[in-house]
Amino acid sequence: MSIILDKIFAHTSKFIAVSILLLVAWIFTVLLQHSMESITALGFDFVTETKWAPNLEKFGALPAIYGSVVSTFLAMILAVPLAIGVAIYLSELAPAKLKTPVGVSIELLAAIPSVVYGMWGLFYFVPIVRDLVGGIGISMLTAGIVLSIMILPFMAAVTRDAMDTTPDILKESAYALGGTRWDVIKDIIIPYAKAGIIGSLILALGRAIGETMAVTFVMGNVHQISMDLTLPATSIPVTLANEFTEASSGLYYSSLFQLSLLLLVISFTIISIAKFYFLRRKRVGL
């Protein structure tokens, strides 16, 4: 009896574990299937065409891709120095009394739903941008800034975790040799935890590029490519969030699936680079 139960337990758990792989394969297949119409109809033009006009049956994804790249780039430029600063502060500078409370609150802030960041952006940040740089406030710039603030806690927390992997004994040895804190950071922690730090930053990038709600509120979903950051723009997730339920025609529907597939492939690639190249053998942190 218990031999049978043993077998059942082992096989059920294995079956469920393997179905995770099948599920991921299924997700890719379904997205690809539903994109076929647009892939065959539009071909490579899909990613080079700049016009997105569903009423004219024109579907060019370049504005959305451009928006994703630029908003994420802006977010990274703003968030990376801050996150590294916060991480250095938490791992080396903060007095013991502050270390845990500040560290925990950063982790808790990373858990706040991104839709809340989006709401804050819409009601409190858009007016500030409007007053400072003009325009309507709903813009690529606003989206980049809100995205950077949304990603900051996650980025700071994982970067700090990477820095904290440096063995204390190495740091203590350097301090004993008369090193300043900056010496220890630049000559001990950064060389030791370099891969982990870079991996954490790229992981945060992977999250940022797929982020929907924080930017949907403040980006405007306007399909245009402009150097002017104060104009409304769109990104792949923003387009999906705004237009998915409206898609009526086959090609419109299919091109949105192609956008989803594109987004999934891009983030899979970025996250894989972070995970496999930089964070290998590191236990996952939530």
């Binding site: 706040i112 809340v116 900051l152 300043t180 236990r283 939530l286």
Partner: protein, 280 residues
């Protein structure tokens, strides 16, 4: 200037910059938190819990429909996702261990954890909503289950791994079959850790909006039929906040506050469980 002075000056510059960036970063984050609390508390009234949604301008409007919808959608996802995730995690830690298959499943789940959730929504739309012909609470739950699975799986895997193998060996030596060892010894040893994983997993999916936009969609009135489109706090928040009506926006803030407090509580509980375990 001596070399030492230069180093000390450099050190002070970098440390100041780092402290400033910590202050700026924390400042922004507490600004958001402060606004959330101020607006949320301001908008909280009893009618929020007792009344359903109403057209803008209508006095007696609340979030009952969204609260119940949220509970149903997240609840169903938890009921399905947690056992599946725990079993899959058990396979990784107790059977698969370092085998190639287990490692691949770990890697793929790690990636899935950070994959864009809106894409999961599109997938569920294609395989559930489109064939059924309409949005439904179930579709939302399925999307959330998919997002929750890898989280539960990986924490279970990690937590079971922390159980000392001597405990397993002792149970085996008493003649217990493997499934009994796992259920009665390993699970018990990893209880706090698994619970933390569940809490964090639920907290994570409870805040998801994007995958619900085109799966469970929305409904401004109370509906408990999971076969129908269903309101959730997050989608309601999005719709109300982007509406031009002030009373709806206010309800949106109340929803944001309630949801954030729920998620923060789950996270704090999860951390406490882990701490308690470490302290023992």
């Amino acid at each position: 200037m001596t070399h030492t002075t230069k180093r000390i000056i450099m050190n002070n510059i970098v440390m100041t910059l780092s402290t400033i960036s910590a202050v700026i970063g924390m400042g922004f984050l507490f600004w958001i938190l402060g606004i959330l609390v101020i607006n949320g508390v301001d908008a909280l009234t009893w009618t929020i819990f007792s009344q359903e949604g109403a057209p803008p301008g209508y006095e007696n409007s609340g979030l009952k429909h969204a609260l119940i919808g949220q509970l149903l959608i997240v609840g169903a996802a938890t009921v399905v996702g947690v056992p599946l995730g725990i079993l899959a995690g058990t396979y990784l830690s107790e059977y698969g261990q370092k085998a190639k298959l287990a490692e691949t499943i770990r890697d793929i789940s790690d990636i899935m954890m950070s994959a864009p959730s809106i894409v999961i929504g599109a997938f569920v739309y294609a395989v559930v909503v489109a064939p059924m012909g309409h949005f439904s609470g179930w579709a939302g739950s399925i999307a959330l289950t998919i997002i929750m699975l890898p989280i539960i799986l990986r924490t279970t895997d990690d937590m079971l791994n922390l159980v000392p193998s001597t405990l397993r060996e002792a149970a085996f030596a008493l003649g217990a079959p493997k499934y009994k060892v796992i259920i009665q010894v390993v699970y018990r040893g990893a209880k706090a850790g698994i619970l933390t994983g569940i809490l964090l997993g639920v907290a994570r999916v409870a805040g998801e909006t994007a995958p619900l936009l085109f799966t469970s969609f929305n409904d401004n009135f109370l509906n408990t039929d999971m076969n129908e489109p269903m309101a959730s706090l997050t989608v309601t928040m999005y719709n109300y906040a982007t509406s031009p009506y002030e009373d709806w926006q206010k309800l949106g803030w109340a929803a944001a506050f309630i949801l954030s407090m729920f998620i923060l509580t789950l996270n704090i509980l999860g951390k406490l469980f882990l701490l308690k375990k470490k302290g023992r």
